[in-house]
Amino acid sequence: MKREDIKVLIMRAPGTNCDLEAVRSFEDFGAKVDLIHTQKVFKDKNLDDYDMIVFPGGFSYGDYVRSGAIWAKECEYRIGPELETFVDSGKPIVGICNGFQQLVEMGYLPGWEGHSLYPEAALGNSTHGYQNRWIRMKYEGKGNCGMLSGLEEGHVIQCPVAHGEGRFILPPEQREELLNKLYDQDMVMFRYVKEDGSYADYDWPENPNGAYHDIAGISNPEGTVLGLMPHPERAYYGYLMPEWTKKGAPEIYGDGFPFFKSIVEYIERKF
């Protein structure tokens, strides 16, 4: 399909706050973006009008239980079947920060055996509490996640994290086994790295939250559902990069651009 025909649904709940950056990034490619309050989506149940869904960052309903838990349960209850149909249709879903927590709480990520009833992973308390800082994450995918196939293997993205609960963890007793499963099915998408490109290996602040195996983002086995803690949408333009003044004038685009470019081009190709 043509770019201008792509319809992106960005859902927001009370407490969502990174929605406008996400809207801006997709619109920059000429895609049509609808930013809609979750309650309206629950009424209209019109997910199949869209080619892609984005769950943006924020503090949905204050994250007063586990981050993303309240909104996740509400979505399950109000549009569970519609979401499942959307995922089964192979259309892409992306969750950033709170959206990632949301997808894990809903059981779509990791989603080894498809949509799980209970969360199979968790995004726990970060080792240093809430932190807003810039990190580097390396693209680890081998092509399974079509959305990111536009990124070269090992591509490094600089962008901020801003969360208090983003430490990716798996059930301790099966940790290694499950990690292998992630790798076997090419589900590890991003890992935190140091300036020289080597893995953070739990060093803070390169690994900003103590995430298991330095994991910053994963996809489902089908590669159609993607979640990550860092914020590429906040590094979309050159003037948002932390040291752009070193060059004098900012470049037009920042490190977040290739991330969105890859997603949009994937939808163009695929649908």
């Binding site: 009370p14 407490g15 969502t16 706050n17 990174c18 406008l20 950056e21 801006r24 309050h37 309650q39 309206k40 960052g57 924020g58 503090f59 309903y61 204050g62 240093h128 509490g129 809430y130 932190q131 807003n132 800082r133 810039w134 901020p160 801003a162 300036e195 949408e233 906040r234 979309y236 333009y237 003037y239 948002l240 932390p242 040291e243 003044t245 070193k246 004098g248 004038a249 900012p250």
Partner: protein, 790 residues
Amino acid sequence: MSRVTESSLPFSHHLVDLMNATDEELIEIKETLGLGLSLDELHYIRDHYVLSERKATDFELQTFDQTMSEHCGHKTFAGIIDTPEGRINGLLKTYFKSLIDELKPDWCFSVFEDNAGLVDFTDDVTIAIKVETHNHPSAIEPFGGAATGLGGVIRDILGVWANPIANTDVLCFGPLDYPFEKLPPGVKHPSYLFKGVVDGIGSYGNSIGIPTVNGATVFDESYTGNVLVYAGCIGVLPKDQYKRGIKAGDYCVLAGGRTGFDGIHGVTFASLELSEESEDTSRSAVQVANPIEEEKVKRAIKQISDQKLGSGITDIGGGGLSCGVCETADTYGLGVDAYLDRVQLKAEDIAPWEIWISESQERMLMAVPPENLEKVKAIFDAEQVEVTVLGTYNESRHAKIYYQDELVGDLVLESLFNPPKLHRTTNWKPEVMLDPEVPEPEDVGGVLKKLLASYQICSKEKVIRRYDQEVKGQTVVKPLQGWNAGPSDASVIKPLHDNWKGISVASGINPKYGKIDPYWMAASVIDEAIRNSVCVGGRRWALLDNFAWGNPEYEDRLGSLVYACRACYDVAKIYKTPFVSGKDSLYNESPLGPVAPTLLITSLGILPDIRKAITMELKEAGNALYLVGVTKPEIGGSEYLHLRGELGGSVPKLDAETNLKAYHRLLDAMDAGLVRACHDCSEGGLGVAVAEMAFTGGLGVDLDLSKVPVSENMRDDILLFSESNGRLLVEIPVGKITEFETAMEGSAVSCVGVIKSEEKLTVTKDGKPVFEETLEELMGAWKTPLEAKR
């Protein structure tokens, strides 16, 4: 028999007989109802009711109590003050509002009119800005106090129909290592307050999705008993959405959080000194925060503003409904009927008068023309926000308040908002203080490291990282610069997606100068706020003043306040920088005494093109380092003397004319692309500034002290750590040196150093070495103190 008697109404409601009440009886009434009114004010109210020949209701007296409180009425700044230099007919009028008339800035869209000041940004868009204090609540309950302080100032921006895009916070605490045994009863330890306040601001600002882009953390003994929490907010508003025109017949609409017992008598509390009992007596005066509620309200107000559905708006803050409802009616020469049993409650068995003055958070009051009411309701419903039509505005000039269809209060708005003017006298003069004799240190480099590691100067990364600085994707220059997270002088925001124009936000504050001379303190912090803005390329400054002072009923506190206000007028007039908004918080006293006279100046600047913004870190080896401005032996109140255990007297003076010329020349040089980096010299002087530029950029410097422009010869330590105003360090590419020197012609400027790739700060004088330190050592000293304190 008591003059306060139960009325016949079926709920808590009292009649108060003020007819010929004696002073003793007035005092008794005041105590029965828990009012904060003075005797003069009680006389005024008594006479009012004698004329109207009826009894007052508890309800009405509570309303007078709210509107006449120092917090709402700003009695000191409105009152008459006699000084040896003559009579001042209102500090606000004489020294702040008058500047608007004299400078006639055509870019001030609306100032001293609403909850926030509005200045032009583009032809059709304005920037709204406001800074508030929330000190006493934070001293009692740091998390809730700070969070609701931020919530309140965000509502001030919503209260002019603007969309909030950035927050600021300036926090003043006692020393974190203050000995516990020295704390008087009722005073909480600085480290406890520090953690609570920082978490409170973080939790509110992050949850509501507004970046905290500028701030400061100040430590001084005088804040131990009474912390200061300044919270600011900046918003964007298209000019055609600025709606002020409530008409009779418009609905009075309340939206947002529910009303409860929290925050009752908050303003009365804010207008008293803190005491050992505050915890018990005033805990209920601290409001409870719910950022997500305000996030929803914010989204709804934006839509109502975009669709221009309202005719007036204000936030419900100090004084609760009593102030909001009566002020909106009075501002437009109207009256209002309000029905309190329509208010959504979060607590049962709450008395009508408590509903009326409760300061429960996240509430906005709007005037809505009848034809728009359904649309407005629909918008709030869609955002899951509760909304109530309280009543209707009318021509009566009375506020008639009903509960269960019974009239519980009938207020004549003229009398409510024309209280008697306070009349005070002060003959206070600052005493002359002298610098002590401090022996010259052997190891100047060691002193520099100690300064970098002082609480005042050290990295505040621990605090700043707790706040989201870049949500909304508009923060172009961030508070922490680059991967080394150096201290930016000002933040730059790009408010509009389709426009390269930007705004700079910076601040100036210095309690130590205030202890020596409030006049030069005020002058210095104004210069610092503007200087910081110049560093990133900001210009056309608008200023905000926030005074945090002790009890103005004491002659010395009042006197120093007058001196500071005079400085504001004198300096702002030369800089042509009008004050567009401000707030005073007085009565900042505890068993440990008053806070140091503290004036926070916030500067809002404009950048024609954010792609030309300048940051503070050194960029390239081989470039030249220039110092703009003259260094004088001014170490009074400096961090250096503080380190040596002294206060001193030679507080930095200010030559505003000279500085302004230099600033404009420097800005021209920046626009011409001659400047690569710029950083101002403030706390810690030249020494600290050059170190910060070096380790943030990861580049060394050869600094030659003999090249520094000075007023007279002075010792190396004084030269390096003097805090003279008007000084900036700038990095100039070798190829641009001549162009730069021509651009700066007429201003004191000199090449004081060369940037090198070797990561060392090497300081010499006339070829002789003074000291050399590695950047790693310097940055380590700067980052360690608060890093260590988790």
